[in-house]
Symmetry: C2
Subunit: 136 residues, 2 copies
DNA sequence: CTATGTGCAAAGGGTTTGCAAGTAG
DNA sequence: CTACTTGCAAACCCTTTGCACATAG
């Protein structure tokens, strides 16, 4: 019953939420809600997809995990960790972490004429595996 | 019957498509599919939303117009014009054109470890109107 | 005890698709 | 004539929601 409540006292512990958080955090991938659902179902067979969505939303809103928006695809989720961006492989569709040397936000804030408070970026390209295959 | 076929010979002229293209190009806004539908319906009352979607997709694929992906919202469409980005006003939801001094694509291509071939960016902030109101 | 969380099933909203009829070339 | 387009309605897909029950604190 260890509730790590960094996010307000109105949040109660739930086994389901912990499993969902684990599923996102332990995954090297960037699972979709459904992928999380499939994974958590192995330990908690009666969990519902609605619960997964509710908790992913709650976790993302509280910055416990990060939502990766992929145009034309379901949202993906990523563990909350240090600043990085995401690339979608245009061949296999996988989501790849990209680590820019300099954060982009500062230059977006410096854009003339607007006051930028946030952004959503998705890069497209080939992941290393697909790039290798293409050479063959 | 002036068919401007910059995009292959398999495309036939259609009055509907021209109206859709006009609706996007003449609009200073960044209309959604439904907004285009409402606008075109004034001149072509029997047009269907499916036709609007089909043509917007076709036009966007052929770079006659540009698709603006807004997470959590319908796609918006913009006339195809010189390079610029888009900001979503977090207060009123409007889509605002932003003109960076230096194209971002080059620096994305220079990112280490990947081969970036494209990107999708949405900025968030306050449009000038909402920024003014906030001061009051 | 009370507010929060869950599971289920149904609803939602935006977008796409199958089909038969229409039309450009 | 033939391929491309259209309108209509139904299907799709992902996600959210209403509700009654369960459970943390």
């Amino acid at each position: 019953m260890i509730s790590i409540k960094k996010w307000g006292d109105r949040v109660k512990y739930s086994r389901q939420r912990e499993l969902i958080r684990e599923a996102v955090n332990q995954s090297g991938e960037h699972p979709t809600a459904d992928a999380v659902y499939q994974k958590v179902r192995q330990k908690e067979p009666t969990i519902s997809l609605a619960t997964v969505y509710r908790n992913l939303n709650q976790l993302a809103e509280n910055n416990m995990i990060r939502r990766v928006v992929v145009p034309g695809d379901s949202d993906h989720f990523d563990r909350a960790m240090e600043y990085h961006e995401h690339m979608i492989c245009t061949r296999c569709g996988s989501v790849v972490d990209v680590w820019p040397e300099h954060p982009l936000f500062e230059q977006f804030q410096a854009l003339p004429g607007i006051c930028c408070t946030g952004y959503e970026l998705v890069l497209y390209g080939l992941c290393s595996e697909c790039a290798d295959q293409k050479e063959q």
